[in-house]
Symmetry: C2
């Protein structure tokens, strides 16, 4: 059985994401960098880390840790709706709840729901959603706002589930492993990259985007972070629609590699939503092959 490390503690959304990647021994690890270190050392086969939150934005700790040190690649992704469960000790009724604990981020996302449904409760901050569950189990507080999976770990019961003020908030997670042969394209893939772009070269971001646009490649995400200790240099994190095994993506990656100070390939993996990555007109593998064949014929005078 493969071993998957995940950003713990147990009972969080990251554990819930890790469970979507098939049967595995799950190992909770304290920080994102430590998850990645466990993968790099071979202590585990892969690691599950949050990369992006539709409310809070990029998870910069994950992005930086993936872009530096020994390369790792994403082999799968998981997108979870951010919908909480309210856990209580068995028998507790809504009107009994005087205190409700959770990580401040979680409390923010269920503020209206608490006001409407736990009218007597005072919110209390904890270090994680899981630690709130522990504190409820210990009798310190009355209710915890947790990832649904948390109920499997504690002697608590679910007072309410599917709780969220904002309907469509999601968090995206990646399963990363040591570099390995990239599986064949599935027809619904995403490719992640980190590209260092020097501010001092005017037009270098424009060139990077043109290499993608000219091949009809859609950018599904772009985030930038200043490069540590390098004034005026930025690392861009790009998610592309498509797979390194496809001609258009391979061509774009080669062009970026040729022109950039530093391009790091962060994996080509099936998209969680399985929406097809359809090459635009003139950008299928056959189109690229036909164009190369034409050049060859011209060179040969045929």
């Amino acid at each position: 059985m493969p071993r998957i490390a995940y950003f713990g503690p147990q009972g969080t959304f990251t554990e819930q994401a890790a469970r979507t990647f098939g049967d595995a021994d799950l190992v909770a690890v304290e920080t994102v960098p430590l998850v990645l270190a466990a993968v790099r050392s071979g202590e585990v086969d892969s690691g599950c880390v949050p990369i992006e939150n539709s409310v809070g934005g990029a998870v910069t700790a994950t992005m930086d840790a993936l872009a530096e040190d020994e390369p790792l690649i994403a082999v799968a992704e998981c997108v979870l709706p951010v919908r909480f469960s309210i856990l209580v000790r068995p028998g507790t009724r809504a009107e009994d709840v005087k205190t409700v604990a959770s990580h401040p981020h979680a409390l923010t996302q269920v503020h209206d729901w608490i006001a409407a449904n736990l009218p007597n409760a005072t919110p209390v901050a904890s270090t994680s959603t899981s630690s709130a569950a522990v504190l409820v189990q210990d009798g310190e507080f009355d209710a915890a706002v947790c990832a649904p999976v948390a109920v499997t770990h504690y002697s608590l019961e679910t007072l309410a589930t599917d709780v969220a003020d904002v309907d469509n908030a999601v968090t995206r997670f990646l399963l990363v492993s040591r570099p390995t042969r990239v599986p064949e394209p599935t027809g619904a893939d995403r490719t992640s990259l980190a590209v260092v772009i020097a501010h001092a070269e005017p037009g270098s971001l424009a060139s990077t985007l043109s290499e993608l646009a000219l091949r009809g490649i859609n950018l599904t995400r772009i985030e930038s972070r200043p490069l540590r200790g390098q004034i005026g240099e930025y690392r861009f994190y790009l998610d592309l629609d498509g797979h390194i095994g496809e001609e258009r993506v391979a061509g774009a990656l080669a062009a970026l590699h040729r022109n950039s100070n530093q391009v790091r390939f962060l994996g080509s993996y099936p998209k969680a939503d399985q929406s097809p990555s359809v090459p635009s007109a003139k950008n299928t593998d056959d189109d690229y092959q036909a164009a190369r064949d034409w050049v060859r014929r011209m060179r040969e005078g045929r």
Copy 2:
């Protein structure tokens, strides 16, 4: 001995250009399309035609004839300074010249010289610089403004040579043949193309130019002509610095072929001025090979 057809009549700059392409049987042909037809039919091995004049601009008859019908490719170019000889019957002195004949284009380019040096002469138009020489030989006019080579064909002598109002006017000629294996790059080559670009696709010219710019390819010439019978479509004639045998040029050509309605390769041939075609940084053949190797390593997880 190879047979070269050239745009006649004999005694013109085009004959003079044809003589620069080595020993050959030269055949004067009446029009540019007929020169190209003689090449296409195999009646001659190659054809010499003017393509561009630094004063008059593109020779549209040549451009259109190369872009249509059976493909031909340029295998060499020649750039001649536009400097005329003044031919007269033996013994004629400058002060005897009452009439000076030539093609109107030539007369325009020596207007000031005639005013200064043949003060008694009236300019007279002829159908070509050579026909002016014939008319002088026949005694109809006193002097002809001709290509220097004309003196070898007529019983005339050179009254003056190296004559031009504008110092640096040049005409560029191409030697074209039926498609044949393109010779290896010399390191100082030019590549000619005709690309059809639909006005209806916004950004298609920008895309075409970006494919070149992203590979550090210099455009040495761009001319456009409306496409006959196709409202809103244009054919662009492009001259690039570089050779189809080089990675950056081959990649750009393949991209243009993939995206264009119609790309016609018009040859890769040594530049007349022998100025080196140096790939810009990150655009050598080795850079392209290294980038492809990197993509392969990423796919294989190495």
